[in-house]
Symmetry: C2
Subunit: 140 residues, 2 copies
DNA sequence: CAGTATCCAACTAGATACTG
DNA sequence: CAGTATCTAGTTGGATACTG
């Protein structure tokens, strides 16, 4: 059985189990990984532990609020660990947990897909938008 | 080199290329795949072509509006194909394109991860919420 | 430094009435 | 049947002032 056929079979099964059975778990993970900042933070922390302000500086355009909220959610899921050093001034470091690293692989697969197909995607979108534009302009 | 080490290396590289270079493409794909309905529609269509009303009935809780918007975006990206049969009453079928099927694999990987780890996730969240609750209630 | 609290703007998504 | 148009509620996310 080919890899593709196997993948199809499993996806079909997952469609049934995930969609019919408990779509909320898949949804919640997609919400986590699909929101605006989680993946970027995981990506940054994957390269080593970082502090709050470091992440604030490094993640392009994130606000304090969203950094706090996103880190809390990642921590809640056990994907990121928060380590407090009782010093003055206070120091807090965030790091990816071993559990979090298991998520890297599937995320990696998705990132690879986007990297491999971004040209196709761009072309598709451009073609679609152009066709729509011509439609709207009623030009041949 | 182990699979994990290899994955780490590639992810690190992707961090640099995707995050530093063009985060928007990865973002746009995550937006597509991570939004409320795309994955569910891809899942349904993966089992075979379907018509608008069929999807409306089968996807749990989707509105006409969101079905239209989501299908348009999937079509725009070339992941789904819209086939019009010029009949009366009108018939339109949607099907996953070969390009769309290439996306199944990484999505499959993510779905598998959620399936494999949903118990851990649930436990993590429960533990975190309980700890937060105890904190808030000031109980030991 | 590492957040929290508050306010506000933008976007997302649902309900529903209408059209070819 | 296969949508579009419109209105509205709810959510997400940014700016910023404040706290331990």
């Amino acid at each position: 059985m080919s890899h593709q056929a196997e993948a199809d079979r499993v996806l079909r099964s997952l469609n049934r189990t995930c969609l019919d059975h408990d779509p909320d778990v898949l949804r919640s993970v997609l919400d986590r990984v699909g929101d605006k900042w989680s993946l970027i933070l995981i990506g940054l922390l994957d390269m080593g532990p970082m502090r709050f302000t470091g992440l604030l500086r490094t993640a392009p355009g994130i606000s304090r609020r969203m950094l706090t909220l996103t880190l809390r959610n990642l921590e809640r899921d056990g994907l990121v660990k928060r380590v407090i050093y009782p010093e003055v001034p206070p120091r807090v470091e965030y790091e990816v947990t071993p559990f979090g690293r298991t998520l890297s692989e599937p995320v990696l697969a998705l990132a690879r897909w986007t990297a491999d197909h971004q040209d196709t995607l761009r072309a598709n979108r451009r073609a679609f938008d152009q066709a729509a534009g011509l439609d709207a302009d009623d030009l041949g």
